[in-house]
Point group: C3
Chain length 481, copies 3
């Protein structure tokens, strides 16, 4: 890193008139991690960097090539000052009002938690130094990624009341290889300051649902499988809780979550058909539900993966091996036929088909998961995305539902299935996917599909269809995209 | 979302002369999904947005802070008008020729299918309003991603005959945090309009190949495994179709597809060696083949994954358990030695090596797949990418081929292997990878490798090597990169 | 590709004054792969492209719409000349000094290996043509990605002594849809030229460590498992090397690497506590260790995946089936009880819990791996990233360590475990994760955690806490972010 030389070379006048980005001077208040990382990046991009510090001579290691001065002196020569200081210490800036007048102050601070202060840091800063133009920005980048990571594809969000000041910050970000997004005026600063403090807001509802479903089915199956056996046969099969029971709960929750992922789309279609227009807003709960479909689907995939691994470890489990060996030995002891039991062709077909449907369904599941990776999804055209998420998605649901039906194919009518008059778990979990698939089938039946696609292209029921569309307007087919 | 306040604050004059991007007014014709999403984004980025509608008072929910007017009034104050209207309704624009004169019209429309109309929507629009500068763009972004997704890394493709108009659109895109790519003049509009309608064009050939190979080998093995058994022994083993047969077809197709992925590179090398230059174009079929190598490899990986899962479920299958139990029982009944059968050390070595090669090959396969994820591939340097795709790729092919050879290690010379005089499937599938590996071995043998790398650096056979290279040109070593 | 028409249409004057990016002319010296790919992209973006060649009439296929001239003529009309020629042939440029005076020369060349020449190509070029402004750039893009791939999110690194020249190159890159990063002056050219030649520099240390650990444990277990059996019982169990032994080595190495991934963070915390400040630099070895944590973790994940696949193929292995069958048969021969061996409830609980911990640990492992994908990581906020990598990471370590403890739960006190007085491999591998977990537990205990987080927020021990913070500076709480 030839910081020293860089600073030198930039100060040499290049041929031609001095272009705008040449040896621009940027000031950074604060020599903490974020300040130093930012300084390093700015030096790399050819800026001259001056740190403002209250102890210029004992402020720890700074990037090579940067200068350090006391705050007032540091700010003097720069047009743009980064405030890389904790909010608690902003008050000293009040005394620098004169020096900061007319400058652009970039507030890059973050708080420890949400709603720590009544007003956003950037708004507080603007109040302290009214003569400067405060721009909030860069706070969504971590000092770690500034220092180490490539910044390709990263985005700087900025907001501020002065368009000119924002423009300056955007230009600087562009030179650092960052794209920028203008988020409006300084009153949006609070939103920007909350972004780094988010903890999976879109995952909360789906996660709660998954935990709730898992717990309910776990207790339901605990009663049916373990407690029932103990109560009626006095046998302790509590060891089943760890793997067998879990491996019944996971596929059930996975299938329910997958149906919940496709149910809102079907409901929206029905609603549009019923209303005869697409121009009325969906109810709030449906909107929120639609927005967490991706998370629902990914959680369903997670449970499906657990189900697959739990299934694959079956043959190495102690209890399974014990059962297998006991079975052979019992077979040998009790009857002395030459083959211990007959090969049942139907059973072979049914179980193998059961596995096949599971494997194919899981493969499509994985494919859906892969296309939801941001970088893979970004390479898909709109039609490709629709094809994968809608066509392949419903096919996955169909395969997984068929897999579950085949699991119970000969047990539905057996009375021994209904212990204590309760249906087994897989029967309960089949209700929702069956409903979704039947509704979807109705929606894609030719006549319904035609009406729906007309509505989705902007047609509205109840408007006079015959009326000609004229440039002056008037009722007619909707022209809105 | 403080839309209302944003519009207000932007209209306040900031200190200094008014910068160019301040409170710019943008007009959007059409209040459909795409129009509203775009309006929302523009408002967020500090633009003033006016919607043009034929029914300004009943056009559904619009983003907060936007105005709605009739088309003529809406267009008046804006320099830039987004046309978010279906092409079928463009004709009303003809009557607005006067109002739209000199404006930049951004055509963001898409069609329902390819070649729906003889000319591109944007060209039609230009014909309707000859006085305006039409720019095609933004149509590759979905309203969904505009509304919800982060736009980082997304790209706007624009084309148009006026460079100035395009520049304006590019600047707007940049403020929305989008990068832009100029795709030339308006005659490229058709290409841009086709992009969202693509359905995996690069996957078609590999997919057809995969389906063809799967079907052929499926029928071949159906005859050999199921029909042969029925014809000669009268035994119905049709249940094998579902899992056993599939698990023979998948690895065969996977290995063939993987060799097809590496064959064109080897062929290209041979062709360059034979021609003695790299400056002659490859035949078209080779070029097209090279371009779908990634897809071939990923499909091969998909089949390999299916093979792995199908293999791992073997021990939990009914028929396998039945065979195992029958075997023990038969062993017990028929001979009464203290150990039912002797442990064969060679067999243990062979089968375990067979599994090991499979596992290692599959792991490398997965690694190759991971590096072909766009975001992972983007972090690789050119040399790293070459190392992974060429070195690791051929190593994967070697391991998988060895895995297949070991599968049949003691069956090649047994006559019972050749049912009805046909070779088993895995022998057929070994031909192609063996050829690729032998050719590759030849190409990386020292003397051949030296010639080839000289050619790839620009050397051409048949040119006088002694001639000095002078600035005035003349024959000599090629200097072209 | 309507190259022909594009060039035509761009030459038509659009309405309004000619904007800056209109029909700009760019010259490319060299007609090799990179030159042609770049020319194609430039033409697509609406530039006029003139190739400079020493044989303008026989230089192979060029993109449609481009012109070819001899070097001197080609350079004349362009302000910007791309030098797409191998460095060995730069000398001819010396004779073009007059024609290239005042132009911007973009050196896009790469070398075959590092340190091939004493000075960077770009610096050599600048020396040859001192009157021009040389900018190094574009060399990190491959001709492959220029020709085929989408350039979204790709970044051009530029360096050069003239800020104005760099600005021109950056603008061109932006029009091609690329973001740019200014890397300072021309003396950084060497760094830029080395980037495409990197071969996983950050992976070297972790890879060496993994290979070393694998080899050591392999030989250790070879002695304990295979040679010991042969020496004491005369039994040849060498076939175990292939799968059984590997499946012991892989989890051991994986767990050690995972602990090594979390150890430096714990050490850094202790060091900060001990020093009472965060403003002193960590020792170099710790810094380097921290920087390869991601690679350590991903390698650990790779070994864990191998362990999982090797475990899942256990039941289909010949030796395992043989053991199972022999066991049944022996059971039958030797004792004639009705059940061959009793079902051990504790054993069932222990083994099932062992598997459950393994599966859950592995699932979290995979989750950590997924979030380290660049495109997934980029969507995480700072707090989310910390949560996943720290909280979930340590939980993974805890689950995997518990999995390993449970593996040996009843073997720790058996003397038969200590063959030749050596502890089994899993005991050795438990030391490090146990240490890491205990230290982490100490660090997150309430009182220690409070001190540490105060230090991490900038507090320093030994400074007078009571001193008020004044704008003029003076001792006090650190204000640095």
């Amino acid at each position: 890193m030839h910081m020293e030389e860089q600073t030198e070379c930039v100060s040499l006048p290049p041929q031609g008139p001095p272009g705008p980005p040449k040896c621009e001077l940027v000031c950074i208040f604060g020599t903490g991690d974020l300040g130093r990382s930012l300084g390093q990046r700015l030096l790399q991009a050819g800026y001259t960097v001056v740190f403002g510090s209250r102890r210029p001579h004992s402020c720890g290691p700074l990037p090579q090539g940067a200068q350090v001065k006391v705050h007032a002196a540091a700010a003097q020569s720069a047009k743009l000052v980064f405030i890389a200081v904790h909010r608690e210490h902003y008050d000293f800036l009040e005394s620098l009002r004169a020096q900061l007048k007319g400058k652009v102050l970039v507030d890059i601070s973050n708080n420890q938690k949400k709603d720590q202060y009544p007003e956003a840091n950037a708004e507080y800063l603007q109040r302290l130094v009214p003569g400067a133009s405060v721009v909030k920005g860069f706070n969504t980048l971590s000092s770690w990624s500034l220092l180490n990571g490539p910044l390709e594809g990263k985005q700087v969000l900025v907001c501020g009341d002065s368009a000119e000041a924002k423009q300056g910050v955007v230009e600087l970000a562009t030179r650092l290889g960052l794209s920028s997004l203008d988020r409006g005026c300084l009153s949006s600063a609070r939103e920007l300051e909350d972004i780094p403090l988010q903890l999976f807001p879109q995952w909360r509802l789906p996660l709660r649902l998954a935990v709730g479903l898992t717990a309910s089915f776990f207790f339901y199956l605990l009663i049916r499988d373990v407690i029932y056996t103990y109560a009626t046969q006095g046998k302790d099969v509590s060891f089943r809780i760890v793997v067998s029971l879990a491996n019944k709960v996971f596929p059930i929750v996975s299938l329910i979550m997958l149906s919940l992922c496709y149910l809102p789309g079907v409901l929206a279609g029905i609603l549009q058909l019923y209303r005869g227009t697409k121009y009325r807003k969906f109810p709030d709960w449906l909107d929120r539900w639609m927005l967490c479909r991706k998370q629902l689907g990914l959680l369903a995939l997670g449970f499906a993966c657990l189900h697959v691994i739990y299934t694959l470890i079956i043959p190495i489990r102690y209890s399974v091996r014990h059962t297998l060996i006991s079975r052979v030995v019992n077979e040998m002891k009790n009857n002395n036929k030459s083959t211990p039991f007959d090969f049942d062709n139907t059973e072979a077909w049914a179980t193998d088909s059961f596995y096949m449907l599971g494997v194919l369904g899981f493969s499509l599941y994985i494919l859906l998961g892969l296309t939801s990776l941001p970088s893979v999804g970004a390479t898909l055209s709109w039609r490709e995305f629709t094809f994968v998420q809608s066509k392949l998605g419903h096919l996955t649901l169909l395969l997984c539902t068929a897999h579950a039906y085949l699991y119970g194919w000969d047990k539905f009518l057996r009375s021994s299935t209904y212990k204590w008059w309760t249906p087994p778990g897989y029967m309960l979990c089949l209700v929702l996917p069956t409903v979704v698939l039947v509704l979807k089938l109705l929606l894609i039946s030719p006549c319904v599909e035609r009406s729906l696609s007309r509505i989705r292209q902007g047609w509205e029921r109840g408007q006079s269809e015959g009326a000609a569309w004229g440039p002056a307007g008037g009722p007619g087919k909707s022209i809105h995209l």
